[in-house]
């Protein structure tokens, strides 16, 4: 039954858009910095999925190559972001964004 379903690029794009939205909304509503961090990763990977889908649809290798660059960038971001979070955690044993409020705003 399922095999009859024709999966077009649109499906992938919709999934990517949904992932991106989940990531964006999650970043705005969640208060745990680690979860916020994961939301950013979700958004980056939604963009990756979009790139791969378009690369397949356009029959162009460029979009797939871009994904590798994005993965490297995401890894670098993780390294720096976790270092900052750990530095703060050492100080206060908690990583909830609401408690990080020595600065107004």
């Amino acid at each position: 039954m399922i095999a009859a379903l024709d999966i077009t690029p649109t499906y992938y794009l919709v999934v990517a858009a949904a992932l991106f939205t989940i990531g964006g909304v999650g970043l705005l509503v969640r208060r745990n910095t680690l979860v916020m961090f994961m939301c950013i990763e979700l958004m980056l990977n939604a963009a990756n999925l979009t790139f791969v889908t378009f690369a397949k649809a356009l029959d162009d290798i460029g979009g797939q190559v871009i994904v590798f660059f994005t993965l490297v960038v995401a890894a670098a971001e993780v390294a720096v972001g976790l270092a900052i979070i750990v530095a703060i955690f050492r100080r206060r044993q908690d990583v909830t964004a609401d408690d990080v409020s020595a600065l107004r705003g």
Binding site: L13, F20, G23, G24, L27, T33, M36, F37, I40, M43, L44, A46, A47, T50, F51, T53, F54, A55, K56, A57, L58, D59, D60, I61, G62, G63, Q64, I66, F69, T70, V73, A76, E77, V80, G81, A83, I84, I85, A87, I88, R91, A97, V100, S101, A102, L103, R104, G105
Partner: protein
């Protein structure tokens, strides 16, 4: 052709690398690597600090020499594209690179004394600053959306660390975390925007995008337009344009002040370079679609920036909000979208870099050990104790307000001039009103400094020491601001040439 076969084909055909095109970046990054290696290999700490500082300065100067060589080549043979069209070598790139290099050079000079004062001496600081500058330089010449993204990440990731560099101050780490979260968020939005533009046009190369748009009538533009909006949001975060400015006050307040003096101008220069190249360059045909969005960003930035600065009592926060307003002025130039607008935006970025560096440099010095005397009250009676510093800060603030004889005046004038010429009367009017409101903010600081001592406790009366490197940096910035105001034609002509060479490069499409 299947994707795999295409990949095999592509593997044979590697692009020729034109080293001159990326020489300034290579030199800067090389200096950063040398510093990190030296730090790892050397044993004696004090020497390492000095050596890394000198290496960084030499790296910046060498990058400047290569940038000059590029300018000579571009001026003689015209702009060209290199490395499979990934980077463009044109007057525009050279101009923005010059701005970034000036900011980096001054930032390094200012940091030396600061790091010693705060006991933060670490070669990594210089290496990170050079890495960040590498990203900014690359962004200036990026001719492919992926290079824009990579350059943005190179400059941002180094900046996240720099902002959180002061390990012992909670505010610095908080600022780092906030900048990191919102910065990565904006990068992700930008990347998704790029993905959609790639889907809409079939390429990420700006020249090929322009050619595709010129030769094709899109029936379904939804994906492309969504991509354009998301990219503007992502880049808008980086230039701190309202309503994407929420990070700016916190980050400016919390991060080490020399870092702000460096990133305030240079990050904006790099991000505006990307905005101009993408929107005024590649998507010139879609002006009807993106101009209203940029118009809204400009107006919001001007209003929010100048009004919110009024109610602040922390000088760094005041300057942060005023930087939002300044982003608005540059956006006016972007919105106009023609040659005059781009020239005005470039000139504004140059002037702003010097003004904002100078202002934050004085704030660094006046902040004293601990980097926390930044309340307006701390500036009371500064003129009595430190007449030279007070005069310099006055100069930089008046320049930001747009007083004649300073670079800020010519910058604002050329932006408004371009807007009026293009028939954007409302935009120019909002800009002028915002300038009037901002002037009040700057005057508050100036009046506090020149307030008579009996008016209250003269907190600033205790003298501060200004080290030689910081004094040199301040002198250069002050001379630059005055030079831009008294002899604006030199830099205006440079900006105009830069714009024309950009336009030529965009159309020729090598």
């Amino acid at each position: 052709m299947t994707v795999l076969a295409q990949a095999l084909d592509a593997a044979v055909d590697t692009p020729r690398v034109d080293w001159l095109a990326i020489a300034p970046e290579t030199v800067l990054f090389g200096a950063a690597v040398a510093i990190v290696l030296g730090r790892a290999l050397a044993r004696r700490r004090p020497l390492v600090d000095e050596a890394s500082f000198l290496t960084a300065l030499v790296g910046v100067v060498a990058a400047g020499v290569f940038t000059f060589v590029q300018w000579v080549v571009v001026d003689g043979d015209g702009p060209y594209q290199a490395i499979a069209g990934m980077v463009a070598v044109d007057g525009f790139a050279v101009f923005v690179r010059t701005v970034v290099l000036i900011a980096t050079f001054l930032g390094l000079l200012l940091s030396a004394g600061y790091l010693r004062r705060e006991g933060l001496e670490a070669p990594e600081y210089h290496a990170l600053m050079l890495c960040s500058a590498t990203g900014m330089m690359l962004m200036a010449s990026a001719n492919d959306l992926i290079v824009v993204f990579l350059a943005l990440e190179i400059l941002s990731i180094a900046l996240y660390v720099l902002v959180a560099f002061d390990r012992r101050r909670v505010t610095s780490q908080e600022a780092g975390l906030k900048y990191f979260l919102l910065g990565s968020f904006s990068s992700a939005v930008l990347l998704y925007g790029i993905a959609l533009v790639y889907g809409g046009t079939g390429t990420t190369n700006l020249t090929r995008i322009a050619r595709f748009l010129a030769g094709t009538t899109l029936l379904e533009e939804g994906v492309l337009l969504t991509g354009l909006v998301l990219m503007l949001v992502g880049l808008g975060f980086k230039v701190a344009a309202a309503p994407f400015h929420m990070w700016a006050p916190d980050v400016y307040q919390g991060s080490p002040t020399p870092v702000v003096s460096f990133m305030g101008g240079a990050t904006k220069a790099a991000a505006f370079a990307a905005i101009l190249r993408v929107y005024a360059g590649a998507f010139e045909l879609y002006r009807v679609d993106w101009r209203p969005a940029v118009w809204a960003l400009a107006v919001l930035s001007l209003v929010v920036g100048s009004v919110a600065a009024l109610v602040q009592t922390d000088v760094k926060r005041m300057l942060a909000y005023s930087s939002v307003a300044h982003a608005g002025y540059v956006l006016i130039g972007v919105q106009v979208g023609n040659e005059a607008g781009t020239t005005a935006a470039l000139y504004y970025v140059m002037a702003y870099t010097l003004m904002v560096f100078g202002a934050f440099a004085v704030v660094t010095v006046v902040g004293r050990r601990g980097d926390r005397r930044h309340e307006l009250a701390d500036y009371r009676g500064l003129a009595g104790a430190q007449p030279v510093l007070a005069a310099l800060l006055t100069l930089f603030l008046l320049a930001q307000a747009g007083v004649p004889l300073t670079g800020g005046f010519v910058a604002k004038l050329s932006v408004f001039d371009a807007a009026v010429d293009a028939g954007q009367y409302w935009l120019a009017l909002v800009g002028m009103l915002a300038a009037a409101v901002s002037a009040f903010v700057y005057l508050r600081i100036v009046l506090a400094m020149y307030a008579p001592e009996d008016d209250g406790p003269a907190v600033a009366a205790r003298p501060v020491r200004v080290d030689l490197a910081a004094a040199v940096a301040l002198a250069i910035a002050a001379a630059g601001v005055l030079f831009l105001g008294l002899l604006p034609d030199v830099v205006l002509d440079f900006a105009r040439d830069a714009t024309q060479l950009l336009a030529a490069g965009g159309r020729a499409g090598a």
